[in-house]
């Protein structure tokens, strides 16, 4: 039996619930991209907050607090098949308890840890790689300026960036826009929320912004030491696919 869910984390947890209280699952898949399989029957699982809550707490208590974070982090990746891998990891976790994350030798654990590592490293990377611009609304004069950063991450990491940047900007309001997923993080004074968003283009650079961009580019070009350039190394740390949204590269 393959279980299908509605793309939400809660929906995914409900599939785990069904796996234990109903029929065993062979795999878990998002309903939106599911490819019919002639050999395995499928069932769409309804999302139910209560059931999701039960599974959430079970993972937290029977495996560890840390593992519920890990499950969520891996869930936010864009790796196909992540749900089924997580299913295996969680069932192994119910067996092994909190030490499940140490069983590197087990392929189920290894795969999950590898994905976790990818997501975490993208989060770290994005903390340094997104660039904010001071923007105002193009349609309203004298509106307050706001810091705006577009990005196109591989994984769905927007909310993981919130704590870091809330701490950095304190009072200053800011927007982090995931252009690939059409969603954005809005934050001010430590409070934040995530919402659908695709209207980055109603924003316009302020005058000082244009100046500072120039200054930054100037600086960036000046500091490259020609005797030491190492484009290969540069690319390893700053993969070309991220360049589009960097002030110093466009």
């Amino acid at each position: 039996m393959n279980y299908l869910y509605d793309n939400t984390f809660e929906g995914f947890l409900c599939c785990i619930y069904a796996h234990y209280y109903d029929e065993k699952a062979d795999g878990v898949f998002p309903v939106s991209t599911y490819q019919e399989d002639m050999l395995i029957s499928r069932c769409i699982i309804d999302t139910d907050e209560k059931k999701a809550g039960i599974v959430y707490e079970a993972i937290e208590n029977k495996i560890s607090k840390y593992d519920i974070k890990r499950v969520y982090t891996v869930f936010c990746s864009s790796i196909p098949g992540k749900e089924t891998m997580l299913l295996r990891y969680i069932s192994l976790g119910f067996h092994e308890g909190s030490k499940v994350g140490l069983l590197y030798g087990n392929p189920v654990v290894f795969n999950v840890l590898q994905i976790e590592k990818k997501v975490v490293s993208e989060i770290h990377r994005m903390c340094g790689l997104i660039r904010f611009s001071e923007m105002t609304r193009a349609d309203a004069q004298n509106s307050r300026s706001i810091l705006y950063a577009p990005m196109e991450p591989d994984h769905d990491i927007t909310e993981f960036l919130a704590p870091h940047f809330c701490d950095r900007y304190k009072e200053d309001p800011f927007i982090i826009h995931d252009k690939r997923r059409n969603k954005a993080l809005f934050a001010a004074a430590g409070e934040w929320y995530i919402t659908d968003f695709s209207a980055g283009d109603v924003l316009m650079e302020t005058d000082p912004e244009t100046q500072y961009r120039k200054l930054w580019k100037e600086y960036f070009e000046t500091v490259a030491i020609k005797e030491r350039t190492n484009p290969k190394c540069q690319r390893r740390f700053m993969p070309a696919r991220y360049w589009r949204n960097l002030t110093e590269c466009c």
């Binding site: 840390y66 000082p208 960036f220 500091v223």
Partner: protein, 472 residues
Amino acid sequence: MDGVIFEKLKILSDSAKYDVSCATSGVDRTNVGRIGNACAAGICHSWTADGRCVSLLKVLFTNKCVYDCKYCVNRRSADVSRASFEPQELAALTMEFYRRNYIEGLFLSSAVEVSPDETAERIYRCLNMLREEYQFAGYIHAKIIPGVSPEIIHRIGMVADRLSVNIELPSQESLSRLAPQKKSGGIFRPMRQIEQTLAEQKTLKGAGNMGHFAHLGANIAAGDGSLTEMTSSQNPIAVKETGRKYAERFAPGGQSTQMIIGASPENDRQIIKTSESLYTTFKLKRVYFSAYIAISEAPELPARFTPPQLKREHRLYQADWLLRFYGFRADEILDERHPFLDTDLDPKIGWALRNIELFPIEVNKASLEELLRIPGVGTVSAMRIIRQRRISAVKYDDLKKMGVVLKRARFFFTCMGRYYGGKEPDPVYIKGIMLDAEGIRDNLTDKKSWQQISIFDNHLVENKAANNELSI
């Protein structure tokens, strides 16, 4: 904003990048495998406690220098454009860059304009304004000019995260030859002052007091980026740094220093010994190496346009890593008979091959300290082996998943009694394989420059490296 600031930024960042004496190495390319990530290219880097890479706005406060250090572009006698920031200008610029997430902070060094105290006072005003008026919470690394009075050092320390006093050259003799106005006392006195202030406020945590400098394995947990912290950095959502909060404390990020490599004739052994004594004497966080870029012409210096010894610098960093994280002593890394690191070989492998009788080591029995001696086993994988062993014996197939680099390590361990490196550990055979592997890598990268460097190395040896280690 006017054009003046453009001009200043250009001049003062340009000088900062060349002025090896006043800045950390351009690209910290070493050991990035384990903890490295997002580095904006080409900008000065340093590591926060959680191993995240920081890009800093690296500038000089002024380059109007009254000193005349031979190796420096900004020496008084050089013909370059000159500029100085006003405290307010640099504070505003730093803040605006920080807000846009271009930088994590400021790396500020300076030439000596008028006098060390005069310049330091202006630097203090700039940094203090940044903290107080702009409420800047980012990272500040301030370089202390040798000879600044203790009172100003203290004030700068209260607003900066990290301080550094550059030792510049690996021996006293080279220092007085190449930087006649800088006295070693003027360098060590502030180092001592910083160390003592840190000790008084009980924040003295550097590689230098990680314990195993005296005895292998003692208290490995202290210091930033150490074993425990590195392993716990698996914690995925821990993006937050610890050492970064500006909290009215004296240089919470400790102190570091920098040495120029290849401008003077010291051998690697002297350099490593000097670093070791800097770690033990002043409890430094880091000693940075910077390959000398031959930009000025002087009879005491390598000829102009001699390529910088990047590969040597890289090996020195690896050796430094062995000192700080792997419990090696300088005398183990290089002895009288081997005064230079083999540029073709990782120093850890070099050591293992010279001490082949200690191998193979059984991964299921070895202590943490022994595991760390195996080439290809890093601090994280060693901890993983120890942890997994408590649950069940470690199998060969597990090692790779734990991050062990088998193509190096397999010659040096046994796993459940079995040896995977051929018949027995044979140094000549292993060395051949390692060189082949490195050879392949060098072909892919920049072979020509390595060759030029090795020629230069010979020239140094012929020069009969003066045997004067820095006594501190």
